[in-house]
């Protein structure tokens, strides 16, 4: 696989499309949650406005370099993930920087942002941040386990570490999707997915009612905006991986939009109607339900 300079603007274009889509999807998911509660919800452009406002704000409060870098790392995680994952299968423009071992890199990026965030939030010195990070990291680790196991199962199944190849293997009708060829791995992965989407019942590290806001407690103004941007991009990026690994990827934008939306919806559907677990309860959940399924899926393969 050769590197072409043209891939850079192509990748940026992908990024832009994903970002705009992410903004709207965030909005739509929020509106759906509002509808479930009997409200109209926010206006369609509201998320843009919030972002623009926060980016425009500057702060005089400093907690040190790492504090500032935290959101940057966090965003890097999100952007990086997008950039190294093929977004549209078979499209030269939106192939991004996919390469043979990109699956491993992707797994790394999934965790990278969280770590960066941990460092930054830790620097703020706020006890809520500390509590949130402790909880977040332990829960994230537990949630990653079934996901990683499922990924192993998939890569074993397709005998490759290239996402593109995994997607290629799933082409030819939806019955060839991993969803149907290895359902247990998908269930395990989806359990992990719920755990990383920062929604109930696995959002105890943010838990406004318990430890207000958790890690981002001290973040505000443009830093908050960076994190908001990431919160828009990152789920999409993650979902792209899921889509590619388990749901046959996407060969054009409409399919992409639809699949991403549906996968996103899973987390919203669950999140709105359940309260959150305590941190040890959620870890136990992942260990009891996610881990065995992940191991099982590998064993089956």
């Amino acid at each position: 696989m050769s590197f072409e300079w043209i891939q850079i603007p192509y990748a940026l274009l992908t990024l832009l499309i994903v970002f705009v889509y992410g903004v709207f999807m965030t909005t739509i998911i929020r509106k759906m949650g509002a509808r479930a509660g009997g409200r109209y919800g926010i206006r369609l452009y509201q998320t843009f406005v919030d972002l623009a406002k926060n980016y425009a704000l500057r702060s005089h409060i400093s907690h040190g370099i790492m504090f500032y870098l935290g959101p940057v790392f966090r965003l890097t995680g999100g952007v990086g993930l997008i950039l190294f994952v093929p977004t549209i299968y078979g499209s030269v423009m939106h192939q991004n920087f996919a390469f043979a071992g990109d699956l491993v890199l992707a797994l790394y990026f999934v965790f990278f942002g969280t770590l960066g965030m941990a460092l930054g939030a830790g620097e703020s010195g706020h006890p809520y941040s500390a509590v949130g990070i402790t909880r977040g990291l332990s829960q994230m680790t537990a949630a990653e386990l079934p996901f990683v196991l499922a990924v192993f199962a998939v890569s074993l199944q397709y005998q490759t570490l290239s996402i593109t190849e995994i997607v290629a293997a799933q082409q030819g009708g939806f019955l060839s999707w991993t969803l149907f060829t290895n359902p247990i791995a998908v269930v395990a992965a989806m359990i992990g997915f719920l755990g990383t989407m920062m929604r109930s019942p696995f959002d105890v590290f943010l838990a406004p009612q318990e430890i207000p806001i958790g890690p981002p407690t001290e973040f505000h103004s443009a830093y908050l905006a960076l994190m908001q941007t990431n919160r828009i991009l990152f789920p999409i990026a993650k979902i792209v991986i899921y889509m590619n690994l388990f749901f046959g990827g996407a060969t054009n934008w409409p399919v992409f939009f639809l699949k991403v939306f549906l996968i996103y919806l899973v987390s919203a559907l669950v999140g709105v109607v359940f309260p959150r677990f305590r941190v040890e309860q959620s870890i136990r959940f992942f260990l009891i339900w996610g881990l065995p399924l992940g191991i099982l899926s590998i064993l089956i393969v």
């Binding site: 509808r35 009997g38 109209y40 559907l269 109607v273």
Partner: protein
């Protein structure tokens, strides 16, 4: 498993119409009873300030909006919405029902000062709003009904001159005094500016000593006024707009009833040290004696000259005893005497002593001779011997002189004097003939009647017939026979208007509606005149006159620098007005004397 799936039923709300309001600023009017921003009907509001008093958070200020007049202070409530808690007690307590609340509650503005405004005065979009909080039903935070005053029944009172009104008991007075909201609108209307809210408060606190002191600060005729005052105050009472006015007159009487008479003088206090100045007063009616009382308290030597047997003037000789027992009047007069005032009775100016003498012997002279001459209608037949005027008749009754008591008589007039003579004669008739035969014909219709409503009601109870809107045309006399020249009756026409377009007195009659009221006697009670013959020719010429009355300035001083005049003879018949006059004149004389003193030293 059920517990895992059941929560997903929440999503059925996804495709339902949301329940929130998209545009809460415009789409959501307040409920019909909503307590929103205040409205005030400026026409109805009297500026009594009760809303300000009840506001628990001091959100209301009374600010001047128009000129004060009787029963309206001209103030209107201004509300500070930074403090208003929307409890609507101000609406509930509003004495006139003018203050209400609209159901408008949405109003945003960056300037906090606009949230302080005078409802009804400042234009607001909700000023015309019909909906909102209005006090339901009657005013409930203060009683609207006057405590019933006990009085003797018509049957008990018709054959004697004993006092009719019983007076309040302490309990009744407490309840009645409790109704007062202490707005003080009545004070301005009372000619003597008595401290009405304060003495009513003294009743509530059962501090009758203080109440009496307050009374005598402004009115030495409290016993009299507590019974027969024209009580203009009650027409200015805030309570009258939504219920009965406070029975201010009866409460005043209640204080005098409750304090033992022996303590009066002690409570009122001693006069100031003697100044050596002398003032003579002609006439011992309320005006003269009030002047005397004030001047005596200021330390001046005062002598009052009275032509009749007893002092008291009109209250004694004009008001029948069933309304004002004479010993009550005597009590007031004795208090005045106790202040050092000397009253010389049976002394007629012009005969026993002349004005010139008075002028020479005194620093000032006050003329308060009242209106003791009856006026005549001068209609045909008025010269008959069976025709008399009310005032001399009343005087004769007071003095116990013989008066003719026919079985049937007619009184011409619709004022209180007409009622007084009619009722007095009715009592005499009852004693002599065992039945009442009195007819009253008044020019005014009942809608514009001059006499008090109570008087009219009581008269009727006593069997007196009252015809309204009747213009007397002729006193019909026997043209021949044994009773030639004696009265047969009174012929009247219906009066359809009293004043012409310019507002001048010019009654218009409907000649087709004629009545003849049979009577053996006719009493004219259409007005009184002052007996100015006592002044003597020189003085009469020297004085300035206006419409038959001596012209006085605002302080009661005549065009002669040594002579003041007060009371009915300058201001028309009214006890409390006379008292007020007396105060004014006393002040003026005192100022003059003080100036004199200063000039002398």
């Amino acid at each position: 498993m059920r517990d895992v799936l059941s929560p997903f039923t929440a999503w059925k709300h996804l495709f339902r119409e949301p329940v929130t309001v998209l545009d809460p600023l415009n789409d959501r009017p307040g409920a019909d009873r909503y307590r929103g921003f205040h409205q005030n009907d400026l026409e109805k509001c009297i500026g009594c300030g009760t809303c300000e008093v009840i506001c628990q958070n001091a959100a209301i200020d009374m600010v001047p909006v128009s000129d004060p007049e009787d029963g309206d202070s001209g103030l209107r409530p201004m509300i500070d919405y930074g403090r208003c808690c929307w409890c609507a007690l101000c609406v509930d307590v509003c004495m006139t029902g003018s203050l209400t609340m609209s159901n408008d509650y949405v109003w945003a503005d960056a300037n906090p000062d606009v949230f302080r405004f005078t409802p009804g005065v400042d234009p607001k979009p909700w000023n015309e709003e019909e909906k909102g909080y209005q006090r339901p039903g009657a005013r409930v935070l203060a009683s609207t009904e006057r405590v019933h005053m006990g009085e003797r029944t018509a049957k008990d009172r018709i054959d004697n001159f004993e006092e009719i009104v019983a007076g309040y008991t302490r309990e009744e007075a407490m309840i009645e005094a409790d109704r007062c909201v202490e707005c003080g609108l009545c004070v301005a209307t009372c000619p003597a500016h008595m401290d009405i809210p304060d003495y009513i408060k003294a009743i509530r606190e059962q501090d009758y000593d203080k109440g009496l002191q307050l009374l005598y600060q402004t009115n030495p005729f409290s016993e009299v006024c507590g019974r027969v005052c024209t009580h203009n105050c009650e027409t200015a009472c805030a309570a009258r707009h939504d219920g009965d006015p406070i029975a201010i007159r009866w409460l005043k009487r209640h204080i005098t009833d409750e304090v033992p008479y022996e303590r009066y003088v002690d409570l009122i206090g001693k006069p100031e040290a003697a100044t050596g100045r002398k003032v003579a007063i002609v006439g011992s009616g309320p005006a003269g004696l009030t002047t005397a009382y004030d001047l005596a308290r200021m330390g001046h030597k005062v002598v009052v000259y009275e032509a009749r047997k007893s002092p008291g003037g009109m209250p004694r000789y004009g008001i029948p005893e069933y309304r004002l027992p004479y010993d009550m009047l005597d009590r007031d007069i004795d208090v005045i005497r106790a202040m050092g005032v000397e009253i010389v009775c049976n002394t007629r100016i012009g005969e026993d002593i002349t004005m010139e003498t008075l002028r020479a012997d005194n620093d000032a002279v006050v003329l308060s001779i009242g209106l003791h001459l009856g006026r005549s209608t001068r209609i045909p037949g008025a010269e008959s011997p069976d025709v008399d005027t009310a005032v001399p008749l009343l005087r004769k009754i007071t003095d116990g002189e013989e008066v003719p008591v026919p079985e049937k008589l007619v009184v011409i007039g619709g004022g209180n004097v007409a009622m007084d003579i009619a009722r007095s004669m009715a009592r005499l008739q009852q004693v002599k003939h065992g039945k009442v035969g009195v007819t009253v014909t008044a020019l005014e219709s009942f809608d514009h009647f001059l006499a008090d409503a109570d008087e009219v009601r009581e008269s009727r109870e006593e069997g007196i017939e009252i015809f309204d809107a009747r213009g007397p045309q002729e006193i019909v006399t026997f043209k021949s026979g044994k009773r030639k020249g004696r009265v047969k009756g009174l012929r009247t026409w219906l009066c359809d208007s009293i004043f012409d377009d310019q507002g001048r007195f010019n009654p218009h009659y409907d000649e087709s509606d004629e009545l003849v009221h049979p009577a053996d006697m006719v009493i004219e009670a259409i007005g009184q005149a002052a007996d100015v013959s006592i002044l003597g020719k020189d003085l009469t010429e020297a004085l300035e006159w206006t419409r038959g009355r001596i012209r006085v300035d605002v302080d009661g001083q005549t065009s002669e620098p040594w002579l003041w005049s007060a009371g009915d003879c300058v201001n028309g018949p009214d006890v409390v007005h006379a008292v007020a006059d007396g105060h004014r004149v006393a002040q003026s004389i005192n100022a003059m004397l003080a100036a004199k003193e200063e000039a002398a030293t």
